[in-house]
């Protein structure tokens, strides 16, 4: 592990400029900017420092451009306000002068320093200087990655066989995008399937027929017959989709650029508890069949929309619509029949005035009943509690038509699974994905449509198809024009380091980590080693969890994080504390505290991050090693994390850090995790004040050779594969009740974790001890130096010997321990 090199700063040809904002009178008189300029000018490696009234306005931007061009700046800090709002303006304006995305950092002087502290302007200038220097270290360590263009190749494939397929294909063809539609059935069968899945939509079947004809006649659309979906690999712009051949014997591959999954639900008969027999008591599907065949049973037909009673209320309005349409059709086509629709009064009725007058004309009763009393089926009557007067009523029936049971369908679930979505049996696929930027491609509303995702009628299913196609077409056109770029901060995998533990794939909730296509030598198929840049949210929990440190978050690397905390922690006074705030909550709440003019102690230094999940435990360890006395992490509420459980991973990491601090003999309270919300800045202020009180109570670390070596061991232990692996796989969300492997309860789990940490911490200590002494040591010496029981130390050292982490040399039959002769 090349630990030294990650922390090293490549300071060559970095030309950093700092522009300080006065922000009218919101920063200038409260922070002594003249002092701040002097403090910063003392720093080495700063090419330019200047105060501007408003760097964000046209005059300021012109001045920055002038300086940047004159002095050849390639890194820029604007110390002014929140980066979420104004950073993009700077990036756009300064792209032409070599200060593109990623090379600009902002320090929020206004809301994190000037507006919220009551201290003297000179003191605030010192605080501002520290924050700016930390940001400077971040930028100096930055190794800018080139913008990645998404090469888009191939057509769009619409798979899954849902009715939305045709809506999507029509729209794509209209937009001039080449499309493949993969069907498992012939088009006639598809059409019949639409009848079965959307019963009673008589006015729409003809339109569907015409739509299907239009699609199959289009030059842009190619229809292929396939078997079931087998595998999907690749990334946006370059997917390989594998189907079985229609006979199920071989496989067929398609190279496509984008995938749209059109998935439909399945219809099932009603449960036996409603007396469904297929003769007198039938479902809407069967009724539809009878009407199609022109053989409805004579007499009174009662449509009972029983979705609420059957436990799927979200389809009730659809069943009601079908029931009404069937009743209308029945009365129109068979004037001798009688029809009545009985529905729960909670169902929003979608009939307009025309429909109601039609109902009167055709003599169809529409009767709402009160759902609090369950209607009961008797052999000739149906009893119900009338909603209008709360009186028990009954209607006679000859044929009772119940709602059909709509289920997501095993086939749809299987397809969704192959596409990478974690599905729950029996639940619809509706999913509101974590969108963190507008052009992000997400499984869910952008890629997956149809009635299996969102209960809908036929018209809506086709409309959903059109909608998704519109979004896809926009992306495809951008891609074909070469204007589709990956965002700057995304994960990348160093395939040389990756040992295919698949941890990242488990952690990644945006489904961005994909298997590389084809087999990898010695590792087999399905090796997750590629990041889909259009799916990655750039949060970095995966990178911060990777046991091999094989994942890197571009432009926001571990080295940058380490450099930043080092720069800040080294400059902190003894009574000061630092922390990280997530841009969605912690840092946002801090911004809001400034805007709402709350006041709190200036002894707290906040470093904003995109998501707390990207704070590697190594970074936390580094902060303590370099001089922080307290570390506060402020993130979202667990249910509100914008990324893949980032806050939950941080939660695990903080508890591990507490254990390690304990092992070092320090107070566990020095690290804390807090939750914040942008709408509650006052809560943020209380969090910070209370943390500072805690740290004041503990006092600063006693820093001497002894404690320093302990903290060094803590830092080293966090690099060990075993600790990182355990930390990654054992993600516990606070409310989880099951525990992995043989561990039956939280206590047993925690014990195992403690044992592992104790051992790894010991190992790190031994290595540091041997390195410090530079000669072999005996068991007794080691045990004494590390204050460990000799027997325990012997066990640990024996294992280290087996693993080759220490060399054991026997001199006069006495074992001596030494560092192994390293091959590096």
């Amino acid at each position: 592990m090349s630990r030294g090199s990650t922390a090293k700063i490549s300071a060559d040809n970095v030309n950093l400029g700092v522009f300080l904002c006065e922000c009218g009178s919101r920063i200038a008189p409260k922070v002594e900017l003249a002092d701040l300029t002097k403090l910063l000018q003392k720093e080495k490696g700063l090419a330019h420092v200047e105060v501007l009234p408003f760097p964000c306005l046209a005059p300021g931007l012109d001045r920055i451009k002038e300086v940047a061009a004159g002095k050849g700046l390639n890194r820029l800090i604007v110390a002014g306000c929140e980066n979420r709002i104004t950073l993009s303006k700077f990036e756009k304006a300064l792209d032409g002068v070599g200060l593109g995305e990623g090379r600009i950092d902002m320090v929020n002087l206004r809301d994190h320093v000037a507006q919220v502290h009551a201290a003297k302007p000179a003191a605030l200038a010192r605080k501002a200087a520290k924050l700016i220097q930390a940001s400077g270290a971040w930028l100096k360590t930055l190794e800018p990655a080139t913008r990645m263009r998404i090469d888009y190749q191939g057509p769009v494939i619409v798979l899954g066989g849902g009715i939305a397929t045709f809506g999507a294909a029509q729209e794509l063809a209209a937009q001039g995008v080449d499309t493949i539609i993969a069907l498992e059935r012939s088009e006639e069968e598809e059409f019949l399937q639409a009848h079965r899945l959307f019963p009673g939509e008589y006015h729409f079947y003809d339109r569907l027929k015409r739509l299907m004809q239009e699609v199959s006649g289009s030059r842009r659309v190619r229809t292929v017959q396939v078997g079931e979906l087998r595998q999907v690999s690749g990334r946006f712009g370059d997917y390989t989709v594998t189907f079985a051949t229609p006979d199920g014997l071989g496989t067929q591959d398609f190279q496509v650029g984008a995938i749209i999954a059109a998935l439909d639900w399945e219809m099932d008969h009603q449960h036996a508890e409603f007396g469904h027999d297929g003769e007198r008591i039938i479902c809407q599907v069967e009724m539809h069949d009878r009407l199609e065949k022109g053989r409805p049973a004579p007499g009174k037909t009662v449509f009972w929309v029983n979705d609420f009673e059957a436990g799927h209320p979200f389809t009730a309005h659809l069943s009601l619509k079908s029931a009404w349409q069937m009743a209308e059709y029945l009365r129109e086509s068979f004037p001798d029949s009688q029809a009545l629709v009985l529905y729960n009064s909670n169902i929003p009725i979608l009939l307009d005035a025309f429909d109601r007058s039609r109902a009167r004309q055709l003599n169809i009763s529409l009767i709402p009943y009160d759902g609090s009393v369950r209607p009961t089926i008797k052999s000739d009557f149906l009893s119900f509690n009338r909603a209008s007067d709360q009186t028990e009523q009954e209607v006679p029936w000859d044929t009772l038509v119940l709602s059909a049971r709509r289920i997501p369908g095993t086939k749809s679930l299987k397809t969704a699974k192959i596409l990478g979505l974690e599905v729950k049996e029996e639940e619809f696929l509706e999913r509101y994905p974590q969108m963190v930027r507008p052009d992000q491609v997400v499984l869910g509303e952008k890629l997956m449509v149809g009635s299996a995702c969102q209960p809908c009628d036929l018209r809506n299913a086709i409309h959903q198809g059109r909608q998704v196609a519109r979004k896809t077409a926009a992306l495809v056109k951008k891609g074909l024009a070469g204007e589709l770029y990956a965002p700057l901060v995304i994960s990348t995998v160093d395939q040389a380091k990756c040992s295919v533990c698949t941890l990242c794939r488990e952690i990644c909730d945006c489904l961005a980590i994909q298997p590389v296509s084809g087999p990898v030598e010695g590792l087999g198929h399905n090796v997750p080693r590629m990041v889909d840049p259009m799916l990655c949210t750039g949060e970095g929990t995966c990178a911060a969890s990777c046991p091999e440190l094989a994942l890197t978050l571009q432009n926001s690397t571990l080295a940058q994080h380490e450099a930043r905390v080092t720069a800040l922690a080294q400059r902190l006074a003894k009574n000061e504390a630092m922390g990280f705030g997530c841009q969605w909550s912690g840092a946002a709440a801090a911004d809001q505290a400034g805007l709402r003019r709350l006041t709190y102690s200036e002894r707290f230094y906040l470093l904003p991050v995109r998501c707390l999940g990207q704070i590697d435990p190594i970074v936390m360890g580094r902060a303590f090693l370099e001089g922080a006395n307290g570390l506060l992490l402020i993130g979202c509420h667990p249910e509100e994390c914008h990324h893949s459980y980032g806050i939950d991973h941080t939660w695990s990491r903080v508890w591990v850090m507490k254990k390690l601090l304990d092992l070092c003999g320090f107070e566990r309270e020095r690290i804390a995790l807090a939750h914040a919300d942008i709408t509650k800045p006052d809560q943020y202020v209380r969090t910070v004040e209370s943390f500072l009180e805690t740290i004041d109570g503990l006092g600063p670390f006693q820093r001497n050779a002894h404690t320093r070596s302990k903290l060094k061991s803590l830092y080293d232990a966090l690099h060990s594969y075993r600790v990182r692996w355990v930390l990654g796989v054992s993600l516990r969300r606070p409310w989880e009740t099951t525990y992995p492997m043989h561990m039956p309860n939280p206590e047993a789990y925690d014990k195992t974790l403690t044992e592992i940490l104790t051992e790894e911490f010991f190992r790190a200590q031994v290595k540091n001890l041997l390195r410090e002494h530079g000669k072999s040591l005996q068991l007794a010496d080691i045990a004494q130096a590390l204050e460990v029981d000799e027997e325990q130390a012997y066990d640990y050292l024996k294992d280290m010997g087996y693993e080759g982490q220490v060399a054991i040399v026997y001199i006069n039959r006495m074992p001596y321990y030494d560092l192994p002769l390293s091959p590096h």
Binding site: P53, A58, F314, M435, E639
Partner: protein, 211 residues
């Protein structure tokens, strides 16, 4: 364009008797701010395109014999223009504006403070909602569209009934829950209102089903 003004050159004009120079494309407001001349605003935000909804940044411009009151955030200077940021006419307009704002958002501390600076403490317009803080400046709508790149917020209705809404008046999936609208709100009205925009939890975080 005035023939005296060379394209791309600096535009020399006067703000409150102070000679200033503006670069190409600078508005009067930007130039004034660059020269430390204060002009009050509520709706102007550097990250979004100005659209002059609050009308507090009005200034009086005099060119030759003609003088008019314009919104400085939207107006580009011309050479030899004379700008007065605090003339009596300007103050008069601002007092009117503030009086209207006091009726529009009587609960806003920011508006009240600003009004008090101009000696406006009461309004003769009808107060619709005494707890309203939103002045409909449009910063949140603009930031959502221009900076975040989505359209989770919009103005609904027109004229006196205009109000801040989500499209179709339902919490929507377009909202990424970033809170940028809260950060740019000049009165803090959105702080209390964000939850009506970002919708229910399951929809925002993707870990649930919103049936």
């Amino acid at each position: 364009m005035n023939p005296k003004n060379k394209p791309g050159g600096l535009i020399k004009f006067v703000i409150d008797g102070q000679k200033v120079e503006a670069g190409p494309g600078w508005s009067i407001l930007e130039t004034a701010r660059h020269h430390h001349i204060h002009i009050p605003t509520l709706c102007f935000h550097p990250a979004v395109t100005p659209w002059g909804s609050c009308r507090l940044c009005v200034v009086e411009t005099r060119y030759g014999k003609r003088s008019q009151v314009v919104a400085s955030c939207l107006t580009r200077p011309v050479p030899e223009l004379e700008v007065m940021t605090n003339s009596e006419r300007v103050q008069n307009v601002r007092r009117w504006v503030l009086e209207m704002l006091l009726a529009e958002c009587p609960a806003s501390r920011e508006v009240k403070d600003l009004a008090a600076q101009y000696g406006v403490t009461s309004t003769r317009f009808a107060i619709k909602d005494p707890n309203e803080e939103c002045l409909k400046c449009g910063r949140c709508v603009a930031v959502c569209h221009e900076v975040v790149g989505v359209n989770a917020l919009t103005f609904g209705s027109r004229g006196v009934t205009k109000q801040l809404e989500t499209p179709h008046r339902v919490p929507n999936n377009a909202c990424v829950g970033c809170g940028c609208c809260v950060s740019v709100c000049p009165t803090g009205a959105l702080q209390a209102r964000l939850d009506t925009v970002r919708g229910d939890l399951a929809r925002r975080t993707g870990h649930g089903f919103a049936h």
